[in-house]
């Protein structure tokens, strides 16, 4: 017991002193239940990188279609093309949503959808070009590696060509979705057939090379092991060493409602496991500046506490969120409440843009 604790403290000291920890050391940390000790170190590292500032963004989700040829067991959002509740938004509908966003001081559209079987690349490039013309300040934080790969297949162009064409149209940033757990055995069991670990990493790397900055996510708390989580973190850290293109890392909990993967597990990952995973992510990913806490999947109370366990960003105020809500998880937060929760915990709220540049119009009370 004593020697185990000493070993842990040695690892944590190393991290706190700015030295990198090994994957096997991260595994040791995952088997350790002293949340306070892990939190304290993660908090020191987070504050060292970003001070007392906690950022957030005013954005909105636009899920342009729920039609998807993928068949992921963890998804409650996707529909077959002939399903009665399948939809594809029109340009007009999308423009309406962007207008609402701009009217509320929003700066980012989180634009993602299913893998639509027939929608051509030009639908995307023309849309972005049109919207960019009308709303030049709004950043399109759009797509995900599975969507880019799919667009390459639909268009017959290489992935790099697709990235270039979208970038030409005005695309500037990509969220890290579709990563789930970057471990092949788990992905196969999850029915995660739409993209492999290597494809996900390759597309991220190409984006970074083409100067499309991205984020990275991890969805945990389903059938993965501790070793799988660490493998995931290690992939992200190694790629970041090569490109520096990840702006933020966002771990979130798998939501077991309304999807086949949910039937394989008894309980969703607990708040304790969430905070622990967040803290270890902060400790391990020494080359990523921002770690985002998630209140959408775990609620406002734990979302606020994530600020003490390694998070320095609370993501978005989310005018609209469909994918997680479809899995039975509904949490709403507005900018005022976001600011209150950040300040109450002793941090400095700061509205940011997609690129983590701080905005002047933070509505501090």
């Amino acid at each position: 017991m004593i020697s185990e604790r000493n070993q842990i403290i040695k690892i944590l000291n190393k991290a706190e002193n700015g030295r990198r920890i090994l994957p096997e050391e991260a595994v040791v940390l995952f088997h350790f239940d002293d949340l306070l000790l892990l939190g304290r170190v993660a908090n020191t590292i987070a504050r060292g990188k970003n001070g007392k500032v906690v950022s957030y963004i005013v954005d909105r989700n636009i899920n342009y279609t729920n039609i998807c040829i993928g068949n992921c067991h963890f998804c409650a959002f996707s529909r077959k093309p002939d399903a009665p509740d399948a939809y594809l938004l029109t340009y007009e509908q999308i423009e309406q949503k962007v207008t609402e966003l701009v009217n509320q001081g929003g700066t980012q559209v989180l634009f993602q959808g299913g893998l639509h079987p027939t929608l051509p690349l030009s639908w995307y490039t023309e849309l972005i070009a049109q919207m960019k013309k009308k709303f030049p300040k709004v950043v399109w934080h759009a797509f995900s590696p599975p969507e880019i790969l799919h667009l390459s297949r639909v268009s017959g162009l290489s992935v790099r060509e697709v990235i270039k064409k979208l970038k030409e149209a005005g695309w500037e940033s990509m969220p890290g979705g579709g990563a789930e757990i970057l471990s092949e055995t788990i992905r196969v069991k999850m029915g995660k057939t739409k993209i492999t670990t290597q494809e996900w990493l390759d597309i991220m790397e190409l984006c970074h090379q083409e100067e499309i900055g991205t984020t990275a996510t991890m969805m945990f708390g389903h059938i993965e092991s501790i070793a799988d989580r660490v493998e995931h973190l290690h992939h992200i850290r190694s790629l970041q060493d090569r490109t520096g293109g990840f702006r933020a890392f966002i771990p979130w909990i798998f939501q077991p409602g309304n999807n086949p993967l949910g039937k394989k597990i008894s309980y969703k990952a607990s708040a304790f496991e969430y905070l622990k995973t967040l803290a270890i992510s902060r400790i391990f990913l020494d080359n990523i500046r921002n770690i985002q806490g998630s209140w959408v999947t775990i609620g406002k109370k734990i979302g606020q506490l994530s600020l003490f366990f390694g998070a320095n960003d609370l993501g978005s105020t989310m005018l609209e969120e469909n994918v997680v809500a479809a899995a039975g998880c509904i949490n709403q937060i507005d900018e005022k409440e976001m600011i209150y929760l950040i300040q109450e915990a002793g941090f400095i709220p700061q509205k940011r843009d997609t690129f983590y540049s701080y905005q002047k119009d933070t509505n501090v009370n």
Binding site: L36, S270, A271, F272, L275, G303, Q304
Partner: protein, 359 residues
């Protein structure tokens, strides 16, 4: 926030089991470093309860929502004659009990409004009927507010009322009705309710009669950190005198459907209040994280901040849910055990007096 001398003094007192001062307690209540608070609270928690977290298999019974008081934080109470007022007869109470207890149930938690006309004999008959049917189930019944009301309208002293309740099967008492002891706050949020002195006196009498009780504190409304500290110190003092309290249960305020309004407590405030309570109440064995009110996620995390008890499976919680609680009204035993073990603690099923039933 404080200098190292301050923390050394607090640590020394905790290690030597000396009570901390009011001023020190107020500093703790205003502290923003949750790790310092958590480490102190956790040290006391592990000293008293090792790595165990307790729970029980319990059911809630609320015989009536009719109440003579109109507390502004309450969304449950109704006036007599209101369209959604309800008032179970003795037979209905028995039917209800039969519906909610299982073979595994070890405790019935019975609380309701301070009823305008049910006299003591209504409650003594209730307890003895239930006890007759289920002799092994502990009856944890009636807050000090209810006991005061039933004694008053029956024209007897509280002591006599408690004696009769005890001989009818009352095993222990819940800790409700304490709210915040500050008379300033009580005048604003529960002016008709018994005073802090009356609440403490009723618990003192219960303890002298051998009835163990719990204590609570409703926080996150209009009270100040000082008022929270004074509440805790008053409890600490009575416990010093009687030793009759089993658990202290901080209760986060829920604003929905109340006339007081306001916002829900934050995770940060929940952590702080539970941890500081654990530090101040060094003569209480148990600090409970009441998941119905804190939320399941918070209750789990609170195990690292002083909490060693997660209440129970709770069948049919009504009072907090009337105020908009989004928690389920029941947890399976399996889920509770999971919440405990996945936080690195050892789940222990207990009875109402903290005797071990199963590890």
């Amino acid at each position: 926030m404080r200098n190292s001398h301050f923390w050394e003094s607090i640590e020394k007192k905790i290690n030597e089991v000396h009570p901390i001062s009011r001023e020190e307690a107020i500093c703790l209540m205003e502290e923003k470093d949750i790790f310092l608070l958590g480490e102190l609270a956790n040290r006391i928690r592990e000293k008293k309860n090792k790595n165990f977290t307790y729970y029980n298999i319990n059911a809630h019974l609320n015989p009536s929502n009719i109440c003579v008081n109109s507390c502004r934080f309450c969304a449950f109470s109704r006036k007599w004659g209101a369209p959604d007022a309800y008032d179970l007869t003795l037979e209905e109470v028995i039917d209800k009990v039969k519906g909610i207890v299982t073979e595994r149930t070890t405790e019935l938690h019975i609380v309701g409004g301070a009823h305008p006309y049910h006299k003591l004999d209504f409650y003594t008959r209730m307890l003895s009927r239930i006890k007759q049917l289920y002799p092994k189930i502990y009856l944890k019944a009636f807050t000090a507010t209810e006991v005061y009301q039933m004694a008053k309208i029956s024209g007897v002293e509280v002591e006599a009322a408690l004696k009769e309740l005890k001989s009818s099967g009352l095993d222990c008492m819940p800790g409700g009705g304490a709210e915040i002891f500050s008379s300033r706050v009580r005048a604003k949020i529960c002016p008709q309710k018994i005073s802090a002195e009356q609440w403490l006196e009723i618990h003192r009498i219960a303890h002298f009669l051998g009835i163990k009780t719990n204590a609570t504190m409703l926080y996150g409304h209009i009270e100040t950190p000082e008022e929270r500290v004074d509440h805790l110190l008053a409890l600490r003092q009575l416990q010093q005198e009687t030793g009759g309290f089993q658990a202290f249960i901080p209760l986060p305020y829920h604003p929905q459907n109340t006339s007081l309004g306001g916002r829900n407590t934050s995770g940060f405030l929940d952590l702080k209040v539970h941890a500081v309570s654990r530090i101040i109440l060094d003569n209480f064995d148990h600090i409970k994280g009441y998941w119905v009110m804190t939320g399941i996620e918070m209750a789990q995390v609170l195990q690292s901040f002083g909490v060693d008890d997660l209440d129970g499976t709770v069948t049919e919680e009504k009072i907090t849910h009337a105020a908009g609680a989004k928690t389920p009204s029941h947890l399976s035993e399996d889920w509770i055990r999971q919440l405990i073990s996945s936080a690195g603690r050892i789940p222990v099923e207990r009875d109402s007096l903290y005797n071990l039933i199963r590890q």
